[in-house]
Symmetry: D2
Subunit: 408 residues, 4 copies
């Protein structure tokens, strides 16, 4: 066993931390100031400072690090600590071209895309010239159960026709968002896991309409946004289908593994950052003649946060290592475990940090409510806690039954 | 022991519930639609439907019920269930002229106000013609420790001169807000509890400046708002002082008891409402072939919420009853207990309800994030959990030491 | 609403507290010393001091107070605080002839017993001359589901024949235990709730064999004991049947309501006592130059314990009041709620008290492990937490569905 | 990063698991049967089967594996998984000569013992011929604060004279226990960390008296026992002092690091074993027509246990790895973290397993209460949770202050 990062990871960690300190953190206020656009989301703009940051990150070789195949050739366990660093700033992931859902979409195209698809969409995505969205979740049904899906992607001659309504399509409001991946039912008579297809849809295709942007705790996460999107007889050539009709479920499964590691590491980064803010406030703020850190149970809050973060990080790193060594399937329980743990640890630590800051912690004077919203969403996105707990238990019972030689 | 409400309370509960169903709940969407004003908070407007609702409530005799002396002559334990009902809608408290901080300010004026002050401010407040704010908390210091206060209210000839900066002055953005109560230091050489004064300040007094509105989880709670307010050489006649110089601390203590009961009961109402939404969703939403209510640990979540609410409500009612029978001082531990319990129960139940709703629960399609923000603020406002826990423990240890005849 | 105890309850509380201080607590060590009998449980003896205490309690009018009909005619809400007081000492319930399972058995006989049964068993039980046991739970099946029961009580001519194996028959090891109530299946073809019967079985009936005493956390609770008992062709006259064949389930349901109140109030008494010990230790023990009460999060532990106890007590009292006013059926949810809450609060507070005592808290130098074992058993006995939570949720969903006019 | 065990550890894990299955687990009942000695602890006997098991373990090369220097030369991170395996059986540690406090005592002798001390005591301890005890904790003072210690070890001519009272001297009741290490004050005028000495005391030295054995949850843990021991003018030659007068504190610090890893890994082993029993019961026991595993929130309980164990194990392994790579001092926070986490996880998982077993889980039919007592003691032994949390927070605040360049 060796808990030290590889030399490559260690070096990248140092470089990325420097870059964050030198470029990203100082640019946050400029970004916020430049962001303010017009009265509604159709007027959102890409803050110019972001493009400057992207150029710098690319020049510094801190670009597309998430992508094993065509990027830095990093393993998941080597990339994980880098994802953690980006969790400290809401703008960092885009700076390094490592933000969801683009990362997952690029992975899909690398693995399943045709040459034409790669040329048209993967190339500009990897260059950070365009952004993308992913349309899976639907408003009318419990999307934690994928078999509930109602949207359709039906073959008609040499076209595939999309209909349905999706929501929580994150990033779709970004001015650079040019394409989305749509998931829909193609053949309800096929085997349960071969009914769905994934289709590449240019955002300006007739029939695609962004109905509104959904707020999360009253914030729209501009300029990314979480869209509700209707698809009405959207017609596309067959070359838009990713990997072939009926392979949607298979692609979705593979897409989620690394994405969950990324989200969890960012959540851990957010928690670590919140703990830093918490400690700083606890040291500097005085009440009843003492710094808050010395009052009542505040030391316990700090200790509990430290313990929770350490444990969550180690398990996430182990899940990443298992993905590298035994694959997504072999790491299924661990991936579900971190998917429950990391967002819960993050919400708890961030909530504790808000409390330590008093009213200020709930305002925009600190980034805590934004971090909280991000972490809270993760308890639902990519499968709610409840579904993951159910899966963990199922796998555990199966394993135990096998070990005991009893039927489950 | 008798856990039944008095006949009077029972009748008022029924009348208020009817009024809520018939008038308030149906008006919520109209209110929201009318609310949209201009680009910033200086252009907030009172939605006309609110004035209509207020007129109806007054006509129905559901007006100023919180005020023992001049209102309905209800005891705290009789008023408590009515406050709970208003917790179900963010607009309900104003409808019944029972919203903070006006309730506390009116109580202060009833008890400590001069005849002139009553005529000028109490009368229109009780008529719902104007609103008010309360300026105590300061941005630069931990206001959980009242002795940290830095703002000043200094006697200069026949004037009192106010300086300092306050924040979390809730309701100050309301177009009808015309007056605020300012708390500041008048004499730092006096006994610890006789240094502060409370001053009535017309909002348009020169030197009073609302610097900005503070968001809570990204919402400004318009048209009420939580203001940051600067006071620069604000000069007022001595007749603006409430109860006399140096009585600020005494007034503040008395002001908080009933207010905490009101807040806690509203939080319990919010929790009860969230549990209703949770159950409705759990019954109607289907995943994996079953309603959510029958999946995994969801039944436990419902049972735990029910138990938490029942217990919190009973303790809050008991605290109200103790205020009626032995006074604020005798109910000190119980009041601190409910101040910890009710907001925590509410945040937990509302959070569970958000989770049961999936992504929708975090959006504005349901009132859950608004309720959450309200309940979360309460874990800080009027003393953070930590300070109240400390007080509960102190009183407990004192009591136990006395019982055991040992020194504490 | 009135949270004050009735005059009668108030007076009895004072008398019982005095009696505890004057007689019961001082006798605990004598009792323990006298208890030591021979090498195994068949040689357990009734400590003579217990008979002295019983005589004194009876003389003081503090006898059979649990029994509404023929005892003190106390309502459940009036008896509850008395049960709480007895929770402070493991020997107190017997002193006042108020210990389980005798209380439940006496209630059954009062309500369902024939005149002959009352003369033979109820009279000496009420006089404290004999003790009794209750045989329901079985080792081979999950007894949380009553329909799992396997033991039989079959009519054969003018006899009823009992077969089966029971365990957790508490009190059966007591030297004074002379009779038990056996529950078994009489007719598996009958309606689900009319299959069982209850039979009075003298302990010396041929075929009744106490196989062993079950330890709980390594203690046998001598001289009461928790027995595993086999019944092999135990033949009894039909006059042994309580209330008639097939009424077992009905009797069991009615038996449990008051018993749960008693258990919960005793658990609350145990928690209150543990908090007293905790505070005493926290005040008197010094580490790092301060009393433990002033270190780290210990004040929070005390505050949390106080809040949990207050809430649990109020809900238990309300459940008792509901039993008095709307009956067991109307109080079903509340009874299940306290059955979950009180033992959980008690185990948590007692565990915290153990921790505050360091190693001593786990030894026999303090009564904490004995109290813990009692409270921990209650999380399983009379229905495990899980079953009660399930019932609470079921009732809640039913109520909400009805309110909403939707089907559940 | 590499989460795989080294080849050596992997091989030893396999061999030890086989040995456990083949020899230790099957011998547990024999051991229990042979254990029963006379009426009190002075008559406890070593069950003959234990000596047979020890001989087999030694022959199999599974002996003294804990001892880096003279044993298997295993690193802490390699030994940790072996310690976990021994946590599954209360008798396993002795079988492999890896049980506390002997392991710690042997480490002390290896590092600080004179040649004479090694010959006389270390040699037979490593051979498993004798056992030992460690006398540090005192009944009269809070021993979580080492500076509270009152026992003395005073130089008088060519002798050192011991006085004082110790308790929780585990293993002192074992028939093979021949020596103890006593810690006492030698010079209260010296620097705070140079006042204490450690002395080797043959158990039969005049003035050493075992006053009683302390029960833990009513069990004496025979034949080991937890003794309360008085020392009255115990005179020993200066050659009995370990490492020199005044070095007691230094030795104690070094002694605790590895011991805490061992305890934590055994606690994790106990938790893992409890989860196996829990799952087995959940699969096989039926209620309401389904296996318990499919009822209510039981799947969540299993998932939560799995997540807690995984995380605790990883952090404990990391702490072990840090001890190997940066030493005890560099691993201080991590060691305190696992000392809080592992016993808490273990008590929670074992408690959940007890609950899943119903009444049986609290009896001796399953090993759960014994495991629980072991894990519960660990929340106090070697520093209570509270002290470790305090230390974690202190180190965290120091680190954060340094990072921020602010004073703490």
């Amino acid at each position: 066993m060796n808990f030290a990062h590889s030399d490559n990871a260690t070096s990248l960690i140092a470089r990325m931390q420097s870059f964050m300190q030198e470029h990203v953190i100082p640019a946050e206020q400029t970004y916020a100031a430049q962001l303010r656009g017009g009265a509604d989301w159709t007027q959102w703009q890409q803050p110019p400072v972001m493009e400057e940051l992207k150029a710098k990150a690319r020049a510094a070789g801190l670009w597309n690090l998430f992508l094993p195949e065509d990027g830095a050739r990093l393993s998941n366990v080597d990339y994980a600590p880098l994802a953690e660093i980006t969790g400290r700033s809401m703008i960092a992931p885009e700076v390094f071209n490592c933000n969801a859902p683009d990362t997952g979409n690029m992975e899909v195209l690398v693995k399943y895309g045709s040459e034409e698809q790669k040329q048209r969409w993967l190339k500009p995505l990897m260059a950070g010239e365009i952004r993308s969205a992913f349309c899976m979740t639907e408003p009318e049904v419990a999307s934690s159960d994928a078999t509930n899906m109602q949207a359709s992607a039906i073959l008609e001659g040499d076209e595939v026709v999309l209909n349905g309504r999706k929501w929580w399509s994150s990033g779709i409001g970004h001015p650079n968002c040019k394409v989305l991946i749509f998931m829909g039912l193609s053949d309800t008579s096929a085997d349960k896991h071969q009914q769905h297809s994934m289709i590449l849809v240019p955002l300006d295709t007739p029939g695609v309409k962004i109905e509104r942007m959904l707020p999360v705790f009253h914030t729209l996460d501009e300029p990314y946004g979480h869209g509700e999107v209707s698809f009405t007889n959207v017609r596309l050539p067959l070359s838009s289908i990713i990997g072939g009709l009926g392979r949607g479920f298979e692609i979705a499964q593979g897409r989620l593994g690394p994405g969950r590691i990324h989200h969890c590491m960012r959540a851990i980064g957010a928690a670590e950052f919140a703990l830093e803010l918490l400690c700083k406030r606890a040291i500097q703020r005085v009440a009843f003649g003492k710094p808050l850190a010395k009052l009542g149970g505040n030391a316990d809050i700090i200790a509990n946060a430290r313990m929770a973060i350490e444990q969550a990080r180690l398990l996430t790193l182990k899940a990443a290592w298992m993905m590298d060594t035994v694959g997504v399937k072999g790491a299924m329980s661990e991936i579900s475990q971190i998917k429950v743990i990391a967002p819960n640890v993050a919400t708890q630590v961030i909530d504790a940090a808000m409390q330590m800051h008093g009213g200020a912690g709930l305002s925009d004077d600190f980034p805590l409510t934004a971090l909280y919203a991000y972490a809270r969403v993760l308890r639902i996105a990519d499968g709610p806690d409840e579904v993951h707990r159910g899966l963990i238990a199922k796998l555990e019972l199966k394993r135990q039954a096998k070990r005991l030689g009893i039927s489950n």
